[in-house]
Symmetry: C2
Subunit: 346 residues, 2 copies
């Protein structure tokens, strides 16, 4: 615990010390040298214990997620990008335009400053790309062995346009279920990197901020009932939530579900169902039948929606249940998984 | 890792399993049986990935903190109460009325459900007492040894009344520095319980939500310049931040600083400075000289402000520095501590 009285400036350390999280000079130096330069904006730079913000009119959307993914750097992304994009997406699924984020870091003593810097750099890129601001934050350090390198909480706020209500209670029989692209990429990217499995094809995470795609979809498509990004528990979990909340059934056409060949083949080898694997840059939307084509057309005009397609339909049969129709025409129940097949994918 | 495929309902477990955080049925059951009943309200009960809220007019205050205190249950409080009250206080220091919180839990596999329930129960009591709502949340589980029982992030939002700006830039020479009560209680409560030190007097944490006190202070006292709750790094850190941000000096009268005899004697034994020890239910306010008496009178009308008093004054000498005047009249520099003297006190 020598570090508590250690007067050395940050640049003389190459790893996180307990004192970097203790609220004194070393904390201030860590924040000033490594964190503020990445996220600088007038609200954050005040370094008050809270940001005071003026928002455009509308209802507020508010969401939170803590990211504990292992490993913290994986093909296609880092825990930092995931934390920015994931919370943006949770806000955006309400139809809100995400505006402001908070970032709460828990760092393990001994984390290399170079690794932290790489993660902060990826967060900076993600917020610039998404056009949001990190306006308030917190940094804690715990002793070696008391967390796993770094955990990141992000909370996000956005503004929902007046009159817009996306809710599973709005789902009606005959509605179409749309997915924005291939599924299972994120979960398998993390799994194959963690287990150092060697497959011919490298699978990359799909981590991305979806609010731009959402804005295009909402423009002129009043028939969107509800949207959700199928993260933990995958598409199977989100569709079961829709079915349970609406008291209706959903039939998914297995042949229509877009899955990359590399993801499909690794899933087959490992005995995983891509429908239950996490995504971090995909969305599901339930839309009125007459709105399916206009919404798909809008989605295909966005990089993150090029492969959007209808994968199923809402039915009044089997209320609360999701059925999967196989290419042979057989239907089976698509259950909510008891647990994500892969732990710590976000 | 047998728990991934474990179909047992929650009531058949007595500890947290990895699958409780994996987004599937066991996650849903943990949330439905242990979390929702504690925090139930219409926004949260929807279980969407975000809450959609209608706020009263005014600017938004937004704050975040992750709580990693060790031990998780200590004299006078739990990590759960601390997480609710601490974020309420960070929001309230802007003059805002705190309204809504998010809660992000990171649970260690093996945490006893009874312990989790005790912590959630203390959070429920804290939100009821404070009159705020938890409207959105997230629960993650990490394997044994990858966190320390439980970490809790809370983010909070509140609304700042029109025209109110509390900012250290508003501090002027001659302003008075007020503290709301005794200092050092929280840090020493945690330390003495952690180290199982045995002292004659039990020291209790001062964890409390301060927004009611703040509202009283603001009512009719337009001369409040800035407020801050001196948590990590204690009063010494907050005053140094005021001095640095305002470019003015502060002189603290040591004899005026309220410290409980039990706290003072334990500090003496352990070689700690109470001015650098964390508080979780106290605030510092800098006020115009003519406002000191009215503000103190308002504070003394509230349970959490009965022992409020002026402890110092803003000066134009020694800009950026805080000086402590001892009872003998000697002045010495009160530095920002290099680190909190006690790690993981919040």
């Amino acid at each position: 615990m020598a570090s508590f009285s250690c007067p050395l400036p940050l640049r003389q350390h190459i790893t996180i010390q307990l004192a970097h999280g203790s609220g004194g000079k070393l904390s201030a130096e860590l924040i000033a040298s490594m964190i503020l330069p990445r996220f600088s904006n007038p609200a954050l730079d005040r370094l008050n214990d809270q940001a005071v913000l003026t928002l455009p009119p509308g209802r507020l959307a508010f969401s939170t997620d803590t990211y504990v993914v292992d490993p913290i750097i994986f093909p296609g992304g880092t825990i930092g990008e995931l934390a920015i994009n994931g919370t943006i997406n949770d806000v955006a699924m309400s139809g809100a335009m995400p505006l402001f984020l908070s970032v709460g870091l828990v760092l393990e003593e001994g984390l290399e400053l170079a690794t932290l810097d790489q993660i902060l750099g990826s967060m900076e890129q993600a917020i610039l790309k998404a056009g949001v601001q990190v306006v308030t934050g917190d940094t804690k350090v715990v002793p070696r062995g008391k967390c796993d390198k770094i955990f990141i909480n992000t909370s996000g706020i956005g503004v929902v346009p007046d009159g817009l209500v996306l809710d599973p209670a709005r789902i009606r029989p005959g509605d179409k279920v749309i997915v924005s692209g291939t599924i299972g990429d994120h979960g398998l990217a993390v799994l194959t990197s963690r287990e150092q499995l060697s497959f011919a094809t490298r699978i990359e995470s799909d981590t991305a901020a979806l609010h731009g795609l959402v804005a295009l979809m909402l423009k002129g498509s009043p028939g969107i009932r509800v949207m959700r990004d199928p993260t933990r528990g995958g598409v199977a979990t989100s569709l079961n939530e829709f079915a349970a909340s609406s008291g209706l059934g959903i039939v998914v056409e297995e042949s229509q579900v877009p899955v990359r060949p590399s993801v499909r083949s690794v899933c087959e080898v490992l005995g995983l169902d891509p429908l239950a694997v996490a995504n971090e840059g995909k969305l599901l939307a339930v839309v009125a039948p007459e709105d399916a084509e206009p919404v798909l057309a809008a989605m295909r005009g966005h990089d993150l929606g090029r492969e959007a397609r209808v994968i199923g339909e809402v039915v009044s049969d089997h209320p609360g249940l999701v059925a999967l129709r196989t290419p042979l025409g057989v239907k089976r129940i698509l259950e909510m998984p008891v647990a994500e097949q892969l732990p710590r994918i976000c």
